[in-house]
Amino acid sequence: MLKIALKMLLGDRGKYIGIVTGIALASVLMIQQPGILISIFSRTYSFITDVALPDIWVMDPMVRFIDDSQPMLDTQLYRVRGVQGVEWAVPLYKGNTRVRMANGQLVTSNILGLDDATLIGGPAIILEGRLADLRLPDSVIIDEAGAKGRLAKPSPVPGGKPTPLKVGDSLEINDKRAVVVGIAQATATFGSQPIIYTTFTRARSYSLSERKMLSYILVKTKPEDTVSAVAGRINQATGMAARTAHEFKTMTLEYFRKNTSILTNFGFVVVVGFIVGAAVTGQIFYNFTLDNLRYFAVFKAMGATDRMLQGMILLQALLVGFVGFGLGAGVTGLFAALTQGSTGLAMTLNWQLLVGSSIAVAIIVLFAALISVRKVMQLEPAVVFK
């Protein structure tokens, strides 16, 4: 009888396509919107993710998220280095600067000043040039998205295509010359601003207006010590906040979650997708069952058990759910692939998201099946003669 159920469903092309389309659209909304949300949220702490080496980030206790760096006195670095269990500690400057383009336009960019000696905190993937070249005079490394995007050289022809920055090109940062010695791959930031890597000392010269320059101290703990114990000691010895990368990411994420309406807005669209998907799918599937009600009555009269009929309806619902979700996930996956690496509205598609959305679709189709089963169970077989 299950084959009969499938033929009944697939034979009614119009309704079958309608139900599958409804589920596919609901799936797209329920996968794509959270995917973008995850991407946006992960961008808020992308810099912490990219700087993978240190165990502990030391910062002013007033810092609320990664871009909220509160400058500390340089002497804090030496105090941290003196704490028991610290293998090494290096300074990091993180701030904003303005790059003047050839056409006079100013582009606000993130600037990162890395420890002159070790260059810890630098990009993990260098696409062109070498990280060590940062030791050359006036040298900077630009992230790929910035080099191809906002910092690309404007076309001399109005309306022409800008030329991506390449190694050897020069820039003007805060009235000072800078030479591009490398192009790096970096995870896009929340504001999608270009990222300029340079040394800690040179970052001072690019940001002369600031008296204190020490944004963060990156700390590696000794193998024999636990990270939490060393963090506690740093906090006690310096009065600064010492956080693990995970704690700092969570803090940053929480800040954006609480202080923006991103979650509410995206969450609303997801809920609407779920409700619309459930309503549309439920309605069309229920109509499909109603259209076939007389046949279900015939089956009942001919001796089909309740379990048999429930199995038929459940199979029909699961099939449309499976096909609809597959289509929706496929379309969304294609969208994700096309926007991969984009600085714009890229999305993250992970297995957790697929599992979550498939559960939501399963709930939708089971709801649709439930209301249909209920109708069929209430059906009196005697209606076959009416």
Partner: protein
């Protein structure tokens, strides 16, 4: 054929049935007594609303009477557990409907195979049996046709094949010829009489169609919820030729 020489297929005694309650109560059956023997073709006739469909529904085990007893081959299926009753119906009763009730997305053979599938037979075997039944009703070569590709008479013959494919003991038909023209209805009745009626099977047909009365072994006339008389049709009772 006499009603006394063969075992009883259906024995109804004192059957009453009402729909609704209070002011809206409609008494559909008012104490019906009826016996149908195996091998017999009995027609239930009477004006609209006289209780024919209610009685055939009770006989087929798809509706419960309020009072009285209805035995099918000696068994009172009202006393069965719900699931047992459903299974009994699946094994022992075949249905033919006025509007055929063929599933439009299934082929003729798949429609015919349904009772076998309900009784647990696998699809390949069920289709094989269905093909054979379709050949018996004169539809060899149309097994893979959809109902919409068949004429009304052919569709009703598919429905007859479906009613007989699992060799039920009782076949109930509701107005099997009323949607068909005279000639087609006649052929359908010939097919029914030839294939459905046997020594171990009874056929109960509800009809308004006087043209087919002559196919009956007995005719039970109903009025106002009761059987008013039962007679044997004379050759003039219906045109036995197309």
């Amino acid at each position: 054929m006499t009603a006394n020489s063969l075992p009883l297929a259906v024995h109804c005694a004192g059957i009453t049935k009402a729909y609704g309650s209070g002011d809206t109560k409609v008494q559909a059956l008012r104490g019906v007594d009826l016996d149908v023997v195996a091998g017999e073709l009995l027609m239930l006739v009477g004006p609209s609303g006289c209780g024919k469909t209610t009685l055939i529904s009770i006989i087929a085990g798809i509706l419960d009477q309020d009072a009285g007893q209805c035995l099918l081959f000696g068994e009172d299926i009202v006393g069965f557990a719900p699931k047992e009753r459903v299974l009994y119906r699946g094994r022992n009763i075949g249905f033919v409907f006025q509007s055929f009730n063929l599933i439009p997305t299934l082929t003729a053979a798949e429609n015919v195979a349904i009772p076998l599938l309900i009784n647990g037979m696998a699809m390949p075997g069920a289709i094989e049996h269905a093909d054979a039944r379709l050949a018996e009703v004169g539809l060899a070569g149309r097994e893979r046709s959809l109902p919409t590709q068949l004429s009304g008479g052919q569709q009703q013959r598919v429905a007859i094949a479906r009613a007989l494919v699992h060799n039920p003991k009782l076949v109930v038909c509701d107005e099997p010829t009323s949607a068909l023209d005279h000639e087609t209805g006649f052929k359908v009745m010939e097919t029914l009489k030839q294939l459905a009626v046997g020594h171990d099977r009874a056929l109960v047909i509800v009809t308004h169609d006087a043209r087919i009365f002559s196919f009956a072994d007995r005719i039970a006339h109903m009025d106002d919820g009761k059987i008013v008389h039962i007679d044997v049709p004379s050759p003039k009772a219906g045109a036995a030729t197309p």
